[in-house]
Symmetry: C2
Subunit: 506 residues, 2 copies
């Protein structure tokens, strides 16, 4: 046993415990907090963030980590992983000067307010000067963090450790080349699944009951989780034994809550699958945003919107909503859930067109960061991109370049993780279908545990032991690529839209 | 402006913000936390407690406080109050050596488990050695804290700053002398209000609706508060803008939730009445447990169980429970709520006998502390006391000496604050009836704001500005005494039980 390691571990577990308490405080803010408490809550969150930051950048811990890293005697493999990851976090935290961190915090607070105003009035000019400031500060941040080839790598690495522009560019280019014509053909198709059955009146209480049944089927342990309501759905992993998801209900749009809950439960299963005994160390933390998103998207789309799963929940839905779903078959439901439609809004996009929204944002934010794109040219480039990729023109900037909150909060390099999640989900799904005997037949019969078990073994239990790239390669036998996603889309939508050459191509 | 003061204030506000976040984490544990999360929650709470403790005993802050206290230049009166109270808290925190604090924490954790086992099997021997340890450690603690006359003063002072045995002994003795014969006569009376109407079936959802109506009538701002369920009702003041109360429901006992909610709302009104702009300083903290309890008891008993208030809620209850309360008049309800009955269990005691339960505990824990009473003699002394004060003998130690959790958690000196709260409530109520025009007529008509306004002005807004004793004296013109409580009990119960000489005595 290495005594220096024990001391570092103790410090880190405490830091993590305070971090998870801060996570709970954030969860409460979105779900339970009385409206007038916003001011006091801001003080609580700021005070906790201050304590956590102090603990993270503690120079004594930095020295201890560097020494353990150079001289890893009497340490297990797991402990070496912890030191590696703690040192990684430490270096990122100390490389950016405190003044720059504070300046970014100050500017993004104001920028976010400006963005809210700009979106409300659909006036990009209100937000433009703030976006310029944010890009300038973010470039500085990237320089401090350092990178080998592209400043964007320094940002990407925060959300997707090890990922680079050099790896991502060809994948996204190939994806876009394959996907754009598919999307165009589906959007233009005369074959249009009837979605009116999803727009009947579905009372909230019954929707909630269905959501809870589905959560149970998926295998989420509700003695270690909660489901609540919030304005924006999210999953908050406070500990492997305390995972909280939220949803919102639309009585006139059945998929809103149901598929929102399946998505968040995908995240929650990952959190519950992290090894409980390692709580407070990197071994019990999700490895990246992309891998986290792969779990939510796998359950939401590849499994949840697949025919076997729809067959499974169809009788449950019919029982709960007999009049609304009178005469609706499982296949009708499956087709309705598989309607492809161009929309200017990312969060409303279907699984076919979604990645095209991301590809555009990736191109633009990369260009903005290195100064190849000027902020003032952004709305024009946005609209051109939408035209090219989806054949549509946003009616205004509010439903165009101003639609997402990310940039106003300084989240540059975050968008690609959605796309990585979608590709990884398809790649994992292909592996599951190869390796889990009769996976789809089992799903249709309500036996989802073999799939969950596979994910537990291949993804969840590893925490941050492997890099995201290595994790995917170990789980699927290949590095992250677009091929499984494109195959999946062609096969599924070729079926729904009656396009023979796509389904035979596989 | 005093720069040193600003720095101390900044530190203290941060400490307080983390403390209030820890309060929220505790609230979540009792109301929302998934059952399996207990382990991770313990780590979070311990980590927060550690951070808070470090900040409280920070020697640099101690030096700054002492210097500001000696040389209070350029400081407002309010700032001087803050320095006085911060220094008070600091001195209490640093006087007890860390090893003793840790030893007490360790012993009380185990003692609490032993107490649970002891109570379950009604076996005092299981708990006795732990209580001996706790008393030994508590004596040490009292010596470190210091006192002028009685070691118990060092403990009392923690919950009721400035209170001493010398002040309390004569008040409790006089109270006991006055109260015991009253209780005996009421308990023995042939006149027995019919309480069966409270034991009909009252569905939980309707009870909750009534509770929410009553909360609103009382003037609690529900945009700055919440009501939830928990096993043991409590009020948690996270900030003046974020106050959370809980209750539990018994469908066969109407007063359980209703009067529980009124009690907790009394606490909550105090918290909401603290000055919001001073959040994070002693000016926005409750001054003592006794004063806090005076607010809850005033609303629960003096107001809530009084005839004007019962007249006010009677039609609301009749509307919600027409069959259960068919033929029940406001006076029937008032009388049912005023039934006096001897019970061995403190938390089930009515307002007449309650203080006798406390008087016994006060006498015993004082004796244990100074070694006049041996732990092994405790069950016998307990049962003798119950016989003498209430004329009953507990069937076993589980409903006798083992009934309360306090001692097992090391809370010695806490019990008297319940009694102080009851006496202060009666004293405040007498002042309100003198000073608020037509207070009772207003209450009967649903206009409770003049009473709340009086409490806001005389009690709530002061925070810790005055000592509890000074606060009571300023608000009522007298020091804390038993007379108003005894007068109130005689008048009220003389009426209910038809004892003419009591009602005329006033």
């Amino acid at each position: 046993m290495n005594k220096a390691y024990r001391e570092v571990e103790q410090h880190m577990r405490e830091t993590s415990a305070i971090g998870s308490a801060a996570g709970l405080v954030g969860w409460d803010q979105e779900t339970m907090m009385p409206p007038k408490a916003a001011g006091s809550r801001a003080e609580q969150s700021a005070a906790l963030a201050g304590v956590i930051h102090e603990k993270i950048v503690d120079p004594a811990i930095g020295r201890a980590l560097k020494s353990l890293s150079k001289n890893p005697k009497d340490m297990s493999e797991a402990e070496k992983v912890c030191v590696r990851e703690w040192l990684r976090d430490y270096m990122r935290a100390v490389k950016v000067p405190t003044e720059l961190v504070q300046e970014i915090a100050r500017v993004t607070t104001l920028a976010h307010e400006a963005w809210i105003r700009a979106r409300k009035t659909s006036d990009f000019k209100v937000f433009a000067p703030w976006l310029e400031k944010i890009m300038r500060l973010t470039r500085k941040e990237a320089e401090h963090i350092g990178y080998e080839e592209h400043p964007y790598d320094a940002l990407l690495d925060h959300y997707e450790p090890g990922m680079t522009v050099r790896q991502l560019d060809p994948v996204i280019a190939a994806l876009q080349r394959g996907l754009a014509p598919i999307a165009k053909r589906l959007i233009g198709s005369k074959e249009r699944p009837d979605t009116s059955l999803l727009r009947r009146r579905y009372p909230e209480a019954d929707q909630e009951a269905i959501c809870r049944e589905v959560i149970k089927l998926m295998g989420l342990d509700m003695d270690a989780a909660r489901l609540d309501r919030s304005a924006h759905p999210f999953c908050c992993g406070i500990a492997p034994t305390d995972v909280r998801i939220t949803t919102r209900f639309d009585e006139r749009w059945l998929p809103q809550a149901l598929y929102g809950v399946i998505h968040e439960s995908g995240h929650a299963l990952y959190e519950q699958g992290l090894p409980e005994k390692s709580f407070g160390t990197p071994l019990a933390e999700g490895v990246s945003h992309g891998i986290h998103e792969s779990q939510s998207r796998l359950w939401e789309n590849l499994i949840g919107r697949g025919l076997p799963f729809v067959r499974l929940i169809h009788p449950m839905l019919k029982k709960r909503f007999p009049s609304q779903l009178s005469g609706v078959s499982a296949r009708d439901l499956y087709r309705a859930l598989g309607r492809v439609k161009s929309t200017p809004i990312r969060v409303e996009a279907d699984e076919v067109t979604y990645n095209l929204h991301i590809a555009l944002r990736y191109k633009l934010e990369k260009g903005l960061l290195v100064g190849k794109i000027k902020v003032r040219d952004l709305p024009g480039l946005w609209n051109e991109g939408m035209k090219e990729l989806l054949g549509i023109k946003p009616r205004n900037d509010a439903e165009g370049v101003l639609q997402d909150t990310h940039w106003s909060q300084g989240l540059i390099g975050y968008f690609p993780t959605y796309l990585i999640g979608n590709l990884a989900a398809a790649q994992l799904w292909a592996a599951i279908r190869r390796e889990v005997p009769c996976a789809e037949a089992m799903i249709a019969r309500g036996k989802l545990s073999p799939v969950l078990e596979w994910l537990r073994t291949r993804i969840h239990r590893h925490g941050r032991r492997f890099s995201p790239a290595a994790l995917i390669e170990r789980a699927t036998g290949e590095s992250l690529n677009q091929r499984h996603f494109l195959d999946y889309i062609k096969t599924k939508y070729g079926g729904i839209y009656g396009i023979g050459e796509w389904t035979q191509a596989r």
